[in-house]
């Protein structure tokens, strides 16, 4: 099984070619303005590496920050229509009522609230009225909008209203691209609806991005199917991913953590991924990043969906040091490090210069940092160590010492001894852990539902079956399925021993 993994980051584009579990070739190139020429350069390099001769590629996995950037920059977003099936509830808080003004204007939505939806126990709230939805659809069609988000109250429990509403809309607008909130989010109507609308706004960008990647691949002669990596450390076929851009929001750090697990063979532990500007600390559980269980803001919008639980630190290989005070960051030379850092002939003191001066790493011209004050070098390294230790401790889940895996281009900044870490694990190829994580990605299925009127065991079993089916329909091989997480929370005030159960299942991609 030969796969190529690519990670398109803000600073670097990394690529690896793996054969089974062996890394055949790898490369790190600067991310280009147009993104694609950098992707092509990286791809060509790994395919044309001497060791790759004669190998054909079975799959290409791409991790990209493209979709998050569009939301953050309020650019390349499409006009959407939002239909919420929830009246008579929620009238005072219409869809997008908590969005930042500028993002709201960028999306310029048409908003409809109609009757229907369900209760927590699956019974209808009030009957849905087909006419209301048909009328909304006609107005959406007349406005020329084709990207539509539909949300319904308690849809993660009962999908019926969203599915029926979509059928009605499609009967009026046959080419509508419809996002149903239950396919993306969890319980919490506003947050789930926000995710659905963000997703709808990214439909055009999703398609053009995937098409551009497809063209880049065919330009250099790779005909293999390609996938986009997802926030939870799994992949989706490019066409599926194009329809669900929000699933690719935080895939970069996730890929790094998956790569760290793969490179070290460790399933549990902490990972620090040191980039050019920032580092992320996360926790590996069973080889996957632990997920954030709470609200995540994206471009100022409240959301609640599958995202890795990460602690960002303003520390990277390009972080600027104040030579007078020894203060670290938060500014960074970023991608300009290759011209601005002292060792590369520039005049800015960066963490990389300190590391070279201390003999921790070799890069650029060592002579240019020979004159640095010894005390400054020593105290700066000590401060970096304290920063890492403090943030590491914040993310740990127990007082016991646990291993810390250091990956990313700036991994050399992590000291060999970190308080609270049983060891600092370093591995070869740690610099391209993210591309490797992409290459090794699997597919997953999830259920997050409220069950009532059954025992805890029955509820867990029902959820697990649902999650397994979801994984298989996303392309997982049945015999490779593994249950990754089971979590259940009993719910106050609800009768019948109601509990909310979340199960996530993971499996290898079923090829052919």
């Amino acid at each position: 099984m030969k796969r190529i993994g690519i990670d398109v980051g803000g600073t670097n584009t990394d690529a690896v070619l793996v054969d089974g579990e062996r890394i055949v070739a790898s490369i790190k190139v600067p991310t280009t303005q147009d993104v694609l020429s950098g992707v092509k350069a990286a791809l060509s390099h790994v395919i044309n590496a001497p060791a790759s001769t004669g190998l054909s590629v079975d799959a290409v996995m791409i991790g990209t920050t493209h979709f998050t950037n569009a939301v953050v920059e309020r650019a390349r977003l499409e006009r959407v229509a939002a239909i919420r099936v929830a009246l008579p509830t929620g009238r005072s808080l219409p869809p997008m009522c908590d969005w930042p003004r500028d993002l709201y204007e960028a999306v310029d939505p048409m908003i409809f609230m109609v009757h229907g939806g369900h209760e927590y126990d699956g019974s209808p709230l009030v009957p849905m009225q087909a006419d209301e939805i048909r009328n909304a659809a006609m107005r959406i069609r007349d406005a020329g909008i084709t990207s539509i988000a539909i949300s319904a109250i308690f849809s993660p429990l009962t999908t019926e209203c969203e599915v029926k509403a979509a059928e009605i809309v499609r009967s009026v607008i046959p080419d509508a691209r419809i996002t149903l909130s239950h396919t993306l989010g969890r319980i919490g109507l506003l947050e789930r609806e926000n995710v659905a609308i963000l997703n709808a706004a990214l439909q055009s960008l999703g398609r053009t991005t995937v098409q551009a990647f497809a063209d880049a691949l065919s330009d250099i002669g790779v005909g293999a199917p390609f996938y986009l990596t997802q926030n939870d450390g799994t992949v989706a076929l490019a066409d599926v991913a194009a329809a669900n851009p929000v699933h690719s929001f935080a895939s970069g750090p996730t890929n790094s953590m998956r790569g760290a697990a793969f490179l070290t063979g460790m399933e549990n532990g902490m990972v620090v991924d040191v980039g050019g500007t920032t580092s992320d600390i996360g926790c590996l559980v069973g080889g996957f990043p632990r997920e954030a269980n709470n609200i995540v803001h994206i471009g100022g919008v409240r959301t609640l969906f599958r995202m890795p639980d990460l602690l960002p630190i303003a520390l990277g290989g390009g972080t600027i040091i104040n030579p007078q005070t020894g203060e670290i960051g938060p500014r960074s030379a970023g991608y300009r490090i290759l011209t601005e850092a002292l060792v590369f002939g520039g005049s800015t003191l960066t963490t990389s210069d300190i590391a070279v001066a201390a003999g921790i790493v070799e890069m650029g011209d060592r002579d240019r940092v020979k004159g640095l004050d010894r005390d400054l070098v020593r105290t700066t390294l000590a401060r970096i160590g304290d920063m890492v230790a403090d943030n590491f401790d914040r993310m740990k889940t127990s007082a016991d010492d646990v291993p810390l895996i250091a990956v990313g281009g700036g991994a050399f900044l992590i000291p060999d001894k970190v308080a609270g870490a049983s060891e600092v694990v370093r591995v070869k190829n740690a610099g391209v852990a993210n591309a490797l994580g992409a290459a090794m990605a699997q597919v997953s299925g999830e259920v997050d539902q409220v069950f009532s009127g059954m025992s805890r065991d029955e509820a867990l079993a029902a959820a697990e079956t649902g999650a397994r089916n979801a994984a298989v329909s996303s392309g997982a091989a049945q015999d490779s399925l593994k249950t990754l997480e089971i979590e259940d929370i009993p719910i106050a005030y609800l009768p019948g021993g109601a509990r909310r159960v979340r199960v996530r299942v993971i499996g290898d991609i079923a090829f052919g």
Binding site: E119, G188, C283, N293, K396, T397, A399, P490, Y493, R500
Partner: protein, 358 residues
């Protein structure tokens, strides 16, 4: 005696109320959005000193009841809280002078404001708990042995219920909870109407201002990069009980309540020790290495160590860095009648109440 409640006080009120909710009362986010929208439309609410009420004034006591999870889907609407008040007025044939919240803890702190904004009445600067508690018999009015009926309950589908009599506060709680469950586990209620005299005598006064000032102290500390937890302690004359990391959360629902315990492993000065916080919707008793060291009615608050934000019993989770603090209870709750209603025994713990405050 009437003072306009400024728009910039909405956020501090929500932050302070969430802390005073002692783990329960529900996240005020949805209510905050609702109140902000009403203000954006030009509505303003006046705040009224309880001592300015005439003895025979009528005061509506409003409350949103139900499961927080249902509230996350149904997104409470101010018109239903207002409707509960109108239904009660129709039944009584009398007009309410002003509106107050049953509890100042969590999202209900804003319920009076939402109803008041729709009905154009003032909000009384008082509540009936000075914090959050799960049941009707845990209000100051119940401790004062005042009448517990009638009660109106309104749901979104045009169902309107009036409970005309109940044998006791506990019966009122049982009946209204049953009806609430039937209509989808969320409803707006207007509780037993109070006279101005009753509010003056038995209300817990100035709690709206207290929540706002507490919220402002937190925001100010964050702005100055000072320690928000310390700001809370200074502001309320509170006591720091424990610093640590959540290592276990066990939850179960019995009798319609969320019960369980959270285990916190000490760090810094508390390294090597453990604190267990037992809860029933709200934090009830704190055990340090097995010994009960703080308990209701003292306010036990679980705070995010860095931001000072309150953490609810529904959202506490493994790995969070937390600080446990105790804040002094309203005096009424620490009287013998108060202890009987809301002391540890009212929550099933065979412990004598001992305050952490001298």
């Amino acid at each position: 005696m009437l003072q306009e409640f400024a728009e910039e006080n909405i956020e501090p009120l929500a932050i302070g109320a969430w802390i005073l909710g002692t783990g329960g009362g529900g996240d005020p986010y949805i209510s905050t959005l609702n109140l902000r929208r009403l203000y954006a439309e030009g509505t303003r609410v006046d705040l009224m000193d309880p001592m300015a009420l005439d003895d025979d004034d009528m005061v509506a006591v409003v409350s949103k009841m139900g499961a927080p999870l249902v509230g996350q889907e149904r997104l409470g609407d101010p018109v239903h809280l207002a409707r509960a008040v109108e239904v009660m007025e129709d039944y009584l044939g009398k007009r309410f002078r002003a509106i107050m919240s049953v509890e100042i803890g969590g999202s209900n702190a804003l319920s009076s404001f939402l109803a008041a904004a729709v009905l154009n009445r003032p909000v009384v600067n008082a509540d009936a708990m000075g914090r959050a508690y799960p049941e009707a018999q845990m209000t100051s009015f119940a401790i004062g042995n005042l009448p517990m009926f009638p009660l109106s309950l309104v749901d979104v589908r045009d169902n309107e219920v009036i409970v005309t009599r109940a044998a006791s506060w506990k019966w009122m709680e049982r009946i209204s909870r049953k009806v609430c469950t039937e209509v989808g586990s969320t409803a707006a209620t207007c509780k037993a109407p109070r006279t101005g005299r009753e509010v003056k005598e038995w209300g817990i006064h100035d709690t709206v201002t207290k929540a706002v000032e507490l919220g402002k102290a937190v925001l100010d500390a964050r702005r100055r990069h000072a320690d928000p937890v310390e700001a809370i302690l200074n502001h309320e004359g509170g006591k720091l009980l424990f610093r640590g990391k959540v290592i276990d959360v066990a939850r179960e629902t019995t009798g319609g309540f969320l019960r369980g315990r959270t285990v916190i492993e000490g760090i810094d000065g508390d390294r090597g020790a453990r604190m267990e916080l037992a809860f029933q919707n709200e934090w009830a008793v704190a055990f340090r290495d097995g010994e009960a060291v703080a308990m209701t009615p003292d306010l036990l608050c679980l705070l995010d160590t860095v931001s000072g934000s309150a953490i609810g019993t529904e959202s506490v989770r493994y790995g969070q860095r937390v600080t446990v603090v105790a804040l002094p209870a309203p005096r009424l709750l620490t009287t013998p009648a108060g202890i009987a209603a809301v002391g540890p025994r009212a929550f099933g713990y065979d412990i004598d109440f001992r305050s952490v405050f001298p």
